[in-house]
């Protein structure tokens, strides 16, 4: 029920003010939360940890994501219209992907920066000439394809960034090095 409150924010439209319903903000928060939870005091060691640790981290991340998604969607199902749930689910993917990208680049504790920046951009410029733009994945109708593709793309980018551990990046660089110098025998 809290989700139906609206936050007034300036927007680049005539008479300049948009009303952003809170559930769009809460969705972003809950999607980013599991990524923030990945932080630990040993974060620098974990960045170069081996397979077993990463396996455990993946399970932890998946569990927290599923758990928070279920709780949030369950709560939203009670309080909000069912079509809104589809919008929430789609924007969830995008926020999660953005949080992963920011988390990998800046550290898990700063994983909120990119989602919040993108949220500000969406809220300000996302509504024009009477309807939401195609890239406004947190507010387009639930059957919209373009924003769904964008959300999936952001999710994939996030997952790729997550997989890009220092070990793998070294391997990828070696692959690239090997293909540029074909006369050298295999160097792995």
């Amino acid at each position: 029920m809290l989700g139906t409150f609206e936050a007034p924010l300036p927007a680049a439209v005539e008479e300049g003010q948009a009303r952003i319903p809170i559930w769009r903000l809460l969705t972003m928060a809950v999607a980013v939360l599991p990524v923030l939870a990945l932080h630990s005091p040993l974060a620098e060691l974990e960045a170069v940890a081996t397979r077993r640790f990463r396996h455990g981290q993946r399970i932890y991340l998946a569990a927290t994501v599923l758990g928070s998604a279920l709780v949030f969607l369950g709560g939203a199902a009670i309080a909000l219209h069912p079509l809104v749930l589809l919008i929430i689910a789609r924007s969830w993917l995008a926020w999660f992907g953005l949080a992963l990208i920011a988390g990998v680049l800046l550290g898990w504790r700063l994983a909120w920066t990119l989602p919040v920046l993108v949220a500000v951009i969406l809220f300000y410029w996302g509504f024009a000439a009477g309807e939401y733009r195609w890239w406004e994945f947190s507010a387009r109708p639930p059957d919209d394809v373009a924003s769904l593709l964008l959300s999936l793309a952001l999710l994939c980018a996030g997952l790729i960034a997550y997989r890009a551990t220092p070990w793998r990046r070294r391997t990828w660089r070696r692959w690239r090095g090997r293909s540029l110098r074909p006369d050298r025998s295999g160097m792995s």
Partner: protein, 426 residues
């Protein structure tokens, strides 16, 4: 001061400044540019980024507030010789200084853009600039408060969302915390602005007395009192409505263009003078069947504006909204039609006007609007009944297709015939 600069140079949020400056300028310029050249609109447009940047600023302030916790420096700071409020004071001041820079840069750029023509009314811009500054201070304070309480990781995101929740709360409480336009008949009230800054200063002092996390507080209830007072002051700062009506100016406060109808606008809107002159010329060219009102003023220039329009006590007025000619063209054409087909004319009996004749006068109104604006496709949308919209479309077709003398003949003919049906003589 040396210590202050030391904190600024080593602040964890100094790297956010380029990103925030870019975002601020993007918000300022990647939108309609009608604010250029009018001081109050410039100030309002440049303080809009304060609300949006406030999300990121609150998060950054929380990050800075939690820096000792992240670095594990709490013990060293708690046994330092310096009073903990002193340490926090320097850190809060440095954080505020850094996070205010993007907003100030945005205001300076907006100032420079409008200063090329330098119309009157700079003080109005300054008042809006201070308003935005108070909003930035508010977001920094909120971020600091939440950052101190929730620590490094979750505190920053909580603060970013906390700012959005505060905006939602203001929508619930007052509805006019977020200022987006600077219409010339409105101005920022100096008293409420002073009250707001007073609350923010007191709130900053309250923030310095927050207990350090993980340590016993120095006097009982320190946490509760400081948080409660900070929250109360923040609420007080937020509910003060900043923008009020301006008093009606005397002589030089307005620019008037004489003609068949005298058009008056606020002197701050000096850049619309050529448009008004063109409009006045077009009114002068109307056929004599039309009787335009002697004077039409922009809203707020007459003390009687805004009084109950149904009772007819409000004199003719118009708005210039976002620089659009349709905003003033539409209202001025309505005023001309109202004075031509005057309701209060004792010789006329408009009460028995038939629907068909009503639609004819609607068509003339649409033609008049298109003629005064000089364009036939309006930039507004309407949900008027379809018969009315068709009448308007036919009036605009006349303006688009026929040559000007023929348009005048048609319009004068329509006015004379409608008046002839319902008015005694003339």
């Amino acid at each position: 001061m040396r210590i202050f600069w030391l904190h600024v140079r080593n602040s964890p949020v100094r790297w956010t400044v380029p990103v925030l400056v870019a975002l601020d300028l993007a918000i300022l310029f990647l939108r309609t540019q009608y604010w250029v050249g009018v001081w109050p609109e410039t100030g309002a447009a440049a303080q809009v980024p304060a609300y949006l940047l406030g999300v990121l600023v609150a998060g950054a302030a929380a990050w800075a507030a939690a820096a000792p916790v992240r670095r594990g420096m709490q013990e060293q700071l708690s046994v330092a010789k310096v009073h903990p409020a002193g340490v926090d004071g320097y850190r809060l001041a440095a954080t505020t200084a850094i996070l205010t820079v993007p907003y100030l840069i945005g205001q300076m750029v907006a100032f420079a853009v409008t200063a090329r023509t330098f119309p009157p009314g700079v003080l109005l811009w300054f008042a809006y600039a201070l308003l935005g500054l108070s909003v930035t201070f508010l977001s920094v304070s909120l971020g600091w408060l939440l950052g101190r309480f929730f620590g490094g990781g979750f505190g920053a995101m909580t603060a970013a969302l906390g700012w959005l929740f505060v905006l939602a709360l203001t929508n619930f409480l007052t509805g006019d915390f977020v200022v987006v336009t600077g219409r010339p008949y409105l101005a920022v009230d100096a008293f409420t602005l002073a009250v707001r800054f007073g609350c923010l200063v007191l709130m900053a002092v309250a923030l310095l007395w927050l207990p350090e996390s993980g340590r016993r507080s120095r006097w009982p209830g320190q946490g509760l009192v400081s948080v409660a007072s900070a929250a109360a002051l923040m609420m007080l700062a937020v509910v003060t409505p900043p923008v009020t009506n301006r008093p009606v100016p005397e002589g030089e406060g307005r620019i008037c263009i004489s003609g068949r109808t005298t058009l008056c606008i606020w002197q701050e809107q000096e850049k619309y003078r050529p448009l008004m002159a063109t409009l006045s010329g077009r009114i002068d060219g109307l056929p004599t069947a039309f009787t335009p009102p002697p004077e039409v003023r922009e809203f707020g220039l007459d003390a009687r504006h805004g009084l109950d329009e149904r009772l007819g006590v409000s004199p003719p007025h118009f708005y210039i909204l976002e620089g659009s000619p349709w905003s003033y063209g539409g209202m001025i054409s309505t005023e001309i039609m109202s004075s031509t087909f005057a309701w209060r004319d004792p010789a006329c009996d408009w009460g028995r006007m038939s629907d068909a004749d009503q639609l004819r006068s609607d068509a003339v109104l649409a033609w008049l609007e298109a003629y005064l604006v000089g364009d036939v496709t309006p930039d507004y949308s309407t949900d008027a009944p379809s018969a009315m919209q068709q009448a308007w479309a036919s009036g605009r077709r006349v303006a688009a297709e026929r040559p000007l003398p023929e348009q005048f003949d048609w319009a004068a003919g329509e006015v004379i015939s409608i008046r002839g049906e319902y008015c005694a003589k003339r």
